[in-house]
Amino acid sequence: MILRLAFRSLMARALTVCMTILAIALSVALFLGVEKVRTGAKASFADTISGTDLIIGARSGSVQLLLYSVFRIGNATNNLTWESYNDIAARPEVDWIVPISLGDSHRQFRVMGTTSAFFERYKYRAGRSLAVAQGLLMDDLFDAVIGADVAATLNYKVGDPIVVAHGLASFVAHDDQPFRVSGILEKTGTPVDRTVIVSLRAIEAIHVDWQSGAKIPGQSTPADVIRQMELEPKAVTAALVGVKSRLQVFGLQRAINDYPQEPLLAILPGVALQELWQIVGIAETALIAVSGMVVITALIGMMATIFSSLNERRREMAIFRAMGARPRVILSLLVLEATLMAAIGAVIGLALLYAGLVVAQPLVDAAFGLWLPIDPPSLRELWVLAGVVAAGAIVSMVPALRAYRMSLADGMMVRI
């Protein structure tokens, strides 16, 4: 009966109670939402590249190799010679290998030379393949496939011309050999979205009239002539490698790292991604801290609500005392009430989160390439919910102890 009366008491103060519960629910939804975004971002980050067993480049640091080969950030300290590339490609452990050639740019976006195998082998988000949203993959030597962000930012359509600049932030353009947008890729949420992809041969083609990083004055080979040329690269920036058996990964990595002809580095993408995530982990911590503060603020709000309601409830508490309730019953009722409000707030917050996820998931994926999975609450999330309920009970002790003291002082003769 006491529980029923406590519930009816809550109902009698429905508006205040609902506002408090709503504040807790929104805080919980925000906290869990931030958690979802954080874990989603982490998962998306870890899934930037999948299905690739090794990334090979000139010897530097593993994070640096990952940054320039996958994220298109920074530059390679050296290249991987075409002989070494072919030598590695011919090793019996290698199932497939995709070359990557970086160095040129278009506006603020990197240009990447590769082979058609890239579209087949590059996987992201648990094995998803690249897909063309508009147009086709490269057919002609001077065809370019652009990522979704490139198309959106520069408002490019299939058939638009693209002039590649030599190097990064260079004023010298390969304007004598313009490309044509043959296809636009679907949004992936990976650095591919911000990449202009051309064939490896095209990278060689636009440098036919170049020597030592500068255009040869007065020389301009016609495009049709270039198309007939044997365009074999002398070096590539990096290579993505798949092995026949996972058991051979470490052996091949060791062999490449000890490659005698030139200093090379082979990295496991997953391990390097984890290392890189740890570097950006401080932002993750800050995000958790901010959302945690939101929950704490809501709980303090609940405590303030209970405090403000104490005076108007002195008669109610005096009635319970007059009927024989001990002061600790009064204390228990208030703690129970706060716990109930926190629990309802937590459950509504969880429901709000999932409702928000259902609505936002496709929008966030389309806008940011960030995939927010709609999974059952994780153990961590359940602990967070339990923590909110427990914290609600704990903070309510402050007004509850005041009510306890008031009920002792008022006895049953309170007149308000």
């Binding site: 009366l5 009927m323 024989g324 019953v329 049953m412 003769m413």
Partner: protein, 233 residues
């Protein structure tokens, strides 16, 4: 009156409210016999509320003894005093003090929740609550209604039913008719007296209205009870 045979006895009681040195309540001897109905008359500020708090055990005398049903309240711990009050005393307040959001039935049954012996005296609590309400003149449809939705007269009947349920030996009524008109007062008192007699309960009513005197076995002036009284309570 011998304290051994009385249901309520106060001997050489002294109480001062903490922080209020100007007020002191001293009662040399005051006792009520079982089944007696007593009207305690006193003006506002005469110490009636303090006296009721002492009898109910929510405050304890700094000297002397307050005995209810043969038990000295000072000998009980705070928790046991709460339980004892719930078991032995039915309370009716001037402002009714019902839980407005709870049903009439839940309000009436509330004291039984904290008083196992009192509850044990009621074989069927729901039916007893219903009987008391109807006997005291509440319409059937009001019993399931929220107490806060009833008229003043109906609320006072609910308060009386709550005090009477489980037949506590002592019923204390603090100005229970002050909010009622004369006709309703008389009806209410008749019903209350009838139920108190049926339960063999003792009734101590505190009021400033001397017109009620005719209804009681004994009328006591607050000034006759208190040997020294200063200030207000």
């Amino acid at each position: 009156m011998d304290s051994d045979t009385s249901i309520l006895s106060l001997r050489d009681v002294r109480y001062r409210w903490p922080g209020r040195a100007s007020f002191a309540l001293d009662i040399a001897d005051f006792a009520i016999a079982p089944s007696e109905t007593v009207l305690l008359l006193g003006e506002s500020g005469s110490g009636k509320s303090t006296l009721l708090s002492l009898i109910c055990g929510t405050i304890t005398a700094q000297a002397g003894s307050v005995t209810v049903g043969g038990t000295d309240l000072a000998s009980l711990s705070a928790g046991k005093r709460d339980r004892f009050r719930a078991e032995q005393i039915g309370l009716i307040f001037q402002q009714f003090n019902l839980l407005p959001y709870a049903s009439v039935r839940d309000n009436v049954l509330l004291p039984l929740r904290f008083a196992p012996q009192r509850r044990a005296r009621v074989a069927a609590p729901q039916e007893e609550a219903h009987r008391l309400c109807t006997t005291l003149g509440l319409p059937e449809e009001a019993i399931a209604a929220q107490a806060g939705t009833l008229s003043v007269g109906q609320q006072q009947r609910v308060a009386a039913a709550r005090a009477l349920i489980g037949a506590p030996p002592l019923i204390i009524a603090d100005e229970p008719t002050s909010a009622l008109d004369a006709a309703t007062q008389a009806t209410f008192l008749e019903l209350l007296f009838a139920q108190a007699r049926a339960n063999r309960s003792t009734l101590l009513m505190v009021s400033h209205d001397a017109r009620l005197a005719a209804h009681f076995d004994r009328v006591v002036q607050m000034s006759d009870v208190t040997s020294t009284l200063q200030g207000a309570a």
